[in-house]
Amino acid sequence: MLIDARQPAANSHRRRVWRRFRSSRRGVIGLAVVVMLLSVALLAPLIAGDRPIACRYEGALHFPALIDVAHRFPFGKWLVRDSLPFSNVGFDAKRALDNDAFALWPPIPYGPLEISEDALASPSRRHWLGTDGNGRDLAARMVHGAVVSVKVGFISMGIAAIVGVLIGSTAGYFGGWTDAILSRLVEVVVCFPSFFLILAVMVWLEPGIGNVMVVIGLTRWTSIARFTRGEFMRLKRLDFVVAARAMGAGPIRIMFRQLLPNALAPVLVTITFGVAQAILLEAGLSWLGFGVQPPEPSWGNVLRSAYTNLRVAPHMVYPPCVAIFVAVLVYNLVGDALRDAIDPRVRGRS
């Protein structure tokens, strides 16, 4: 290995960044709330659902909601068996379980799609945040909507990061004509009113969370590309790159083994802000009817149904508004603290 010396340096740099990050109160609070949002999304079936966490049914113990959580992990469906008969479509756990049988229900004992008789009910002990136009529990929809926002935030920014890093690093490393052409490409995407592009593409594709993620990912990569390019241009002239080249390393190896690890910091900051933007965009698209389609819950379409029932059930407006605001705020807080921690010189600037 020719870059052994880099490893400990990178580690101590990372530790220094973490120490500086921890010293920012806003950043720590932001990170705590981000972790909380992630846990809500991951554990959604345990917080709100129409299946018990644990119960005794026909003499055997069942853990339907826990198994739902397990199924959310990659390969979870193969590793953990379905909780029959609870996972059968149309099986109503609430009716099937006797009142005196042991059953531990989630704190919000309603599924996000579960329809009840009292539509547009105000908040009460039964329904903490009230119900929507179809009698679905709003709290349950908010909890499961968090899953959408986390997915959209991270997967779309993952796509954006891959595209942005590839284009930015190629432009930055090779320079010259490659750079000129790729820079034009970036300019085309930047000059584009991206919200319009997303709308146009969403009309073309089936509306739905998968396409929303792809489209946001493919339009929001430009600032990642710019930062990667800038870092590559700065770094490629440094001695360790010259040394690697002298030892016969090819461009691909230099780009991804030597340069990229050193260029990741500003990219990470851009991604954090990007997650906030993606959540905002998804909610906006779902509000306009191009994102997640009802009955599937998302904060955007909950807000839309609130807008439709504005005069009858104004209580529906506040939960999605607060959720979107908090999500955007905390990702911005983390992004700011991260930027200050990585480069203390820019601290306090806008």
Binding site: A171, D179, A180, L182, S183, R184, L185, V186, E187, V188, V190, C191, F192, P193, F195, F196, L197, L199, A200, V201, V203, W204, T222, S223, A225, R226, R229, G230, A276, L280, A283, G284, W287, L288, L303, A306, Y307, L310, R311, P314, V317, Y318, C321, I324, F325, V328, L329, N332, G348, R349, S350
Partner: protein, 333 residues
Amino acid sequence: MFRYILKRLILAVPTFLGITVVTFAVIHLAPGDPLDRLVDESVPAETSRHTYELLERHFGLDQPLHTQYATWLRRIVTLDFGNSIPDHRPVWDKISERLPWTLGVAMLSMVFGLVLAVPIGVRSATRRGGWFDSVSGTLLYALYSVPSYVTAMVLIVIVVTVPIEWLPIRGAYSDGFDDLPAWGKTADLFKHFLLITICFTYPALAFQARFVRGNLLEVLQQDYVRTARAKGLSDRRVVIRHAMRNTMIPLVTYLGMLFPTVIAGSAILEVMFAWPGIGRLMFDSILQRDYPTVMALSVITAVLVQIGTLLADVSYAWLDPRIRYDGGMDHVD
């Protein structure tokens, strides 16, 4: 400098072509046919197919895609945006009757934003770390993170539930606006502009105040500010005469650059407030597959963004001779 501008203008040509090709492809390849709505379903199939073919030929939609693009490009050089498909009106007429509403809100919000942001920014920069700085900093930060459509929803709900009956939440003017006397018109416009202008103003305000503060802090550390202080000038004079000038120029330039983005970003708010502006025109045109209108709007926004970016870069280079550009992507934002 002249060479630089020329180079940028030449480089703008491929960008322009790229944007138009992408828009053209996306909107034309999207499923759905603008002519479907025009053909009357009730007449016999033979007649309606004939009408359809006539319409197709009329709008040139029977040509292959690249021929259609070439025709469109030839027209655009003479600033002819063609006719809208659903209502046959010239696209330019449709845009120009919507433009004042969007521009009006955008201008108002920028002016209000500046009027409020500059004093806030100056005060927090000159008394850095004081109570005003930390309170306004936290407030502005929170404000900056509230999406404007979320604010719009909350405002609308408040108006509906309180209820504030004199405050309209939809449209830009009342029915029978034309019959109102002059003062009535003014009052009517004011009422309609109020909410949507608030929603456009506060994100701008939050951004501008942070920008002024950050820039001013940097400028106040410069040698010439120290010189001015050493000459015995008052703090007030140093800030207003010496430091502010070099803070305002980047701010105004940046706003110029941001302006087209504000217009393009207005779609959700305009739909929420049923505002007759550009954002909603774009939204409706996409839904109706009104190819000429969508193309025209994309081109206009793209060109505005490019002009804004170029002006910003040129004025930066003009102000700061140390800046030299190589035509890369650093200065594109």
